[in-house]
Amino acid sequence: MSAKPATDDAKDELLSPFRRLYALTRTPYPALANAALLASTPVLSPSFKVPPTQSPALSIPMSRVFSKSSTARIGITTKTALFFSTMQAIGAYMIYDNDLENGAGFIATWSALYLIVGGKKSFSALRYGRTWPLVLSSVSLANAVLYGQRFLATGFQ
């Protein structure tokens, strides 16, 4: 039986880089890396406010009633980054605790939610020369895809 893991490792070496990344999702390290990147965001790329360039109109349309305030904030805020970093850490702990199915599903879900929350902001930040939010979104997208694949694989066994 000891020859079989070696065979699987040999197969992983021959297959595509996606397969190698997919093999990493058996460990909590991708989620821990994502948590570290998110936790360091307030230091590396803090968010800032941009004053509005146009004066407000006399009549405000109804569609803007529930929109956010006119002062836009560029980048990921500190509390948002720390919150999602905590969630990634919780998911990593689940996998470290040998609960691969629930941990992978947890990380995939919260990575997808991070894309919903900060996905558009990462592209709007490019206008001001900020590329770090795009790095965070790319890592979250990779985590969502790879751990989601892992969850589906374990779920149907």
Binding site: I60, N102, T109, W110, Q157
Partner: protein
């Protein structure tokens, strides 16, 4: 009640923005007046909610009847070779079962929160406000002891793999048996609802 307070601040933040939108805004805007009385940002409650979620996770490692006996086989298979079964195997099995159940509550709460939050956000924002407000009001009334919800007569039908979905959704959202599910469902539901509509 800290979590409910944070949720309330999250929910009612946009209402303040709506009120301000209806005011007569002059063509010129004073910088000093602009900074005073600014509504709370969305991320104010997120840090506290995250800490509360972590605290809930550490405190609520209690046994649960959510997972059936069949799911224990998968948990045993996932153990690594560096963890031999030594000592009292019955106690280890019971502890393992409870931990798996807690993890499953947290994952399913997050997953259902995201899915339902995005769905609700696409339908109506007001529907989301009514839903969250009703949920918090129900929690507050139970905390005051003015109402009591007894759902033990409702029979469970829906089963997903080894999880009783109906029992999880009803007892998780309205009861106090699955606090892990409730905490993570609320967090992901609010975040998905507020952000998916942009």
């Amino acid at each position: 009640m800290t979590l409910a307070f944070n949720m309330q601040r999250l929910v009612f933040r946009n209402l303040n923005v709506g009120k301000r939108m209806f005011k007569n805004v002059p063509l010129w805007r004073f910088n000093v007046a602009n900074k005073l009385g600014k509504p709370l940002t969305r991320s104010v409650g997120l840090g506290g909610a995250g800490i509360v979620a972590g605290g809930f996770y550490l405190m609520n490692r209690q046994p649960s009847k959510l997972i059936f006996n069949d799911s224990l086989g998968a948990a045993v298979k996932q153990q690594g070779p560096l963890e031999p079964t030594v000592g009292n195997s019955t106690a280890i099995t019971e502890e393992r079962r409870n931990k798996i159940s807690s993890h499953k509550q947290m994952f399913l709460g997050s997953l259902f929160g995201v899915v339902l939050g995005v769905t609700v956000a696409k339908i109506s924002i007001l529907f989301m406000y009514v839903g969250i407000t009703s949920m918090l009001l129900c929690e507050w009334l139970r905390y005051k002891g003015w109402i009591r919800i007894n759902l033990k007569n409702i029979k469970s039908v829906i089963v997903l793999k080894d999880v009783d979905l109906k029992k999880l959704l009803i007892d998780g959202l309205l009861g106090t048996e699955y606090m892990g599910f409730k905490v993570f469902f609320t967090l992901s539901f609010v975040l998905a609802s507020l952000n998916a509509n942009k």
